[in-house]
């Protein structure tokens, strides 16, 4: 810690940039919330809050896993397709009850993660390509499983999951919040969390220090797969239909955006879970603000693009450049 401080001290600009890099996302949220409180009608209502939180929940759940993977200097492009696989499996087994259906959907997510983990950790393929294979293949698999069709969900328990409330907040939001807390604890207080950060910081040094590098990578990708499957289930429950062709498309991009905007560097060695939560909230808040002011989708996308570039620019001093 002290080493970092001394290294940063000689250049004053680094101090400002480091502050923006670490806290910019919270600052941006504060500014946007203040703006909306003043200028947007019906912003500070319980209904609006719930809508926004429900909308952001699936992205947030995926982004939690993505933050871990990016922390290992990797990336998981397959998350959207894994969501689709989980969504496609649900209606196939809902006849046996909700528990077997949920269990199998999550198991499928774990298997997808294990496949990514095998390719990355054991075979030694770069994460972008390894997970790209499953992005392409997983979507096809989901469509094959579902026969390319959208299926309505009529299971009452699953519908409750999608639209029910607990203590005033939607169940989906609780799921996302609990998962965020768990992943935060995992990174902060467990041996695995420390090993993950070490592997991301310097893989060969970690291996030389005797850390189980391959196992850490494998578990990280499995966690990402399971979280993507959870997001797939949640999104299906909210939609009240399993739609394997549309569910989770471009989620990998939204999740990466949330993680990067939240201050986790793409170069690995650092995981910011609270930042990731804030990053997901910020992107949702931006979209919501633009929509409430009748600005079209196109503008929202261009603004998001600019914010991604800005976030990475702020991280540049740390990540050093390449990839």
């Amino acid at each position: 810690m002290s080493a970092t401080t001394t290294a940063a001290a000689p250049r004053q600009t680094v101090g400002t940039r480091a502050f923006l890099r670490d806290n910019g996302v919270y600052l941006a949220i504060a500014v946007l919330v203040a703006y909306n409180l003043v200028f947007t009608e019906n912003f500070a209502t319980v209904a609006n809050l719930n809508t926004q939180l429900v909308q952001v929940a699936p992205v947030l759940i995926v982004a939690l896993g993505m933050a871990l993977v990016i922390g290992t200097e990797g990336v998981d492009l397959s998350v959207g397709s894994v969501m689709a696989v989980a969504a496609a499996i649900l209606p196939l087994y809902l006849g046996y009850g909700i528990i077997p259906a949920l269990g199998l959907a999550l198991l499928a997510g774990a298997l997808c993660g294990a496949l990514n983990g095998t390719l990355v950790a054991l075979v030694g393929i770069q994460p972008i390509v390894a997970t790209l294979a499953l992005l392409v293949g997983g979507r096809g698999l989901a469509l094959v499983l579902a026969d390319g069709q959208l299926k309505d969900i009529r299971n009452p328990e699953l519908l409750d999951l999608g639209s029910g409330k607990l203590l005033g907040l939607p169940v989906i939001v609780w799921i996302a919040a609990v998962l965020a807390a768990l992943v935060w604890l995992l990174v902060r207080y467990t041996t695995f969390g420390r090993q993950l950060v070490a592997v991301g910081g310097n893989r060969s040094a970690s291996a030389l220090a005797g850390l189980p590098v391959r196992r850490v990578l494998m578990i990280t990708y499995i966690i990402s797969g399971v979280l993507a499957a959870v997001a797939g289930v949640v999104a299906t429950a909210r939609l009240t239909a399993s739609d394997p062709s549309a569910i989770g498309t471009l989620f990998e991009l939204s999740a990466i955006t949330a993680v990067v905007v939240g201050g986790t560097p793409l170069s690995g060695g650092r995981v910011r879970i609270l930042g990731t939560v804030a990053g997901a909230l910020l992107m949702q808040l931006i979209t919501a603000t633009l929509i409430k002011h009748d600005l079209p989708d196109s503008t929202a996308q261009i603004v998001q693009a600019a914010i991604i570039v800005l976030a990475v620019y702020l991280q540049r001093s740390r990540s050093g450049g390449d990839r």
Binding site: Q126, L135, V144, T299, I302
Partner: protein
């Protein structure tokens, strides 16, 4: 295409000096594997399906491959330099929409507008990557979103699809044929021939390989690393825009929903073609084989008929995983031998 492949040989001779036989075979599989597999798949498909080895089907595969091939050509150079361009799918779609938008002022505007705008997006990528030193992955991810946003902005949020008139020469450029092959196919062949010459015979091509091998070393050698990196992304944007414009001319409309996931097909084709994603090595001819392989597999699955078309992406994904696994194994064998 074989002649294209063979020209690669002299450039590789530096690396292959003093190698054992096993390493040379490993290197050969890495570079030529896609051509061999392509030949095998074509052979098996010709024997299995009467309707596969027909002139009509070959013309079909050629035209379907051409648009992806043009995009993958730019991607090949970017990946060889150690970068990546995720924006090409959006830029491709934008190029098509702009062609259909610009053609109301004539074919020339219809062709130039997509090239100028898509070139500008490529240039923006290049400046941010080369001079801003930002990660290519994330810069091009941002322009993926931005280009899609621009596309929505000029199509009333995607609800307007502009049609192109048959009489315009730009439309003829997409739909016309010459010696039995579609004009986009001929454009693709010319572009790939130019691509081979640029990569193997020009200072720019050699600099691209050097940058991918080691950026630091390339800088120390005095190569114009930043300028060349910028030009690579500019080229990728231009080619994606051109491919989009040709595809729009081919279908005579600026369809707004095309190109999603095209960047992944392009990357898959490049990687299957034997270009290392780590940069520093790769061939233009291999990419062409990779594109044809993806399209032939798609064609074969359609031929089977009983298989749903969704199997196509399952097969492509599995194929990609196998290819990169073999590549990883081979390059490790290569390293072990080298020590």
């Amino acid at each position: 295409m074989t002649s294209v492949e063979q020209r690669v040989e002299p450039e590789e001779s530096v690396a292959s000096g003093g190698m054992t036989r096993a390493e040379r075979i490993a290197g050969l599989v890495q570079r030529r594997g896609s051509v061999v597999v392509l030949a095998l798949v074509v052979l098996i498909a010709s024997v299995s399906f009467d309707s596969f080895a027909t002139v009509g089907n070959a013309q079909n595969i050629a035209i379907q491959s051409s648009f992806l091939a043009i995009v993958a050509l730019g991607m090949t150079f970017v990946i060889i330099s150690g970068g990546i361009d995720l924006s090409v799918g959006s830029v491709y779609a934008l190029g098509g929409v702009l062609a259909a938008y610009g053609i109301q002022w004539g074919s020339l505007v219809g062709l130039l507008l997509p090239l100028v705008v898509c070139g500008a997006i490529g240039l923006l990528n290049g400046v941010l990557v080369a001079y801003g030193r930002l990660a290519p992955f994330i810069v091009t991810l941002a322009t993926l979103l931005g280009a899609r946003g621009l596309l929505l902005a000029i199509t009333d949020e995607g609800s307007t699809t502009r049609l192109m008139q048959r009489e315009d020469w730009l439309t003829q450029l997409g739909q016309g044929t010459f010696l039995g092959l579609g004009i986009p196919v001929w454009i693709t062949i010319v572009l790939f021939a130019v691509g081979v010459v640029v990569l193997q015979r020009t200072r720019f091509g050699h600099a691209t390989l050097a940058i991918g091998g080691s950026r630091e070393a390339a800088t120390l050698m005095g190569l114009p690393v930043a300028r060349d990196t910028m030009l690579l992304y500019l080229g990728s944007g231009l080619l994606a825009g051109l491919a989009g414009a040709l595809a729009a001319a081919y279908s005579a409309s600026g369809v707004t929903i095309v190109g999603e996931g095209l960047e992944l097909d392009a990357i898959a084709a490049v990687v299957i073609g034997g270009t290392l994603l780590t940069g520093g090595a790769g061939t233009v001819g291999g990419t062409l084989a990779g594109v044809l392989l993806l399209r032939v597999i798609q064609n074969v699955i359609n031929q089977v008929g009983t298989l749903s078309s969704h199997y196509q992406s399952v097969v492509s994904g599995a194929f990609l995983a196998v290819v990169v696994a073999v590549q990883a194994y081979l390059s490790r064998a290569h390293l072990r031998g080298g020590r």
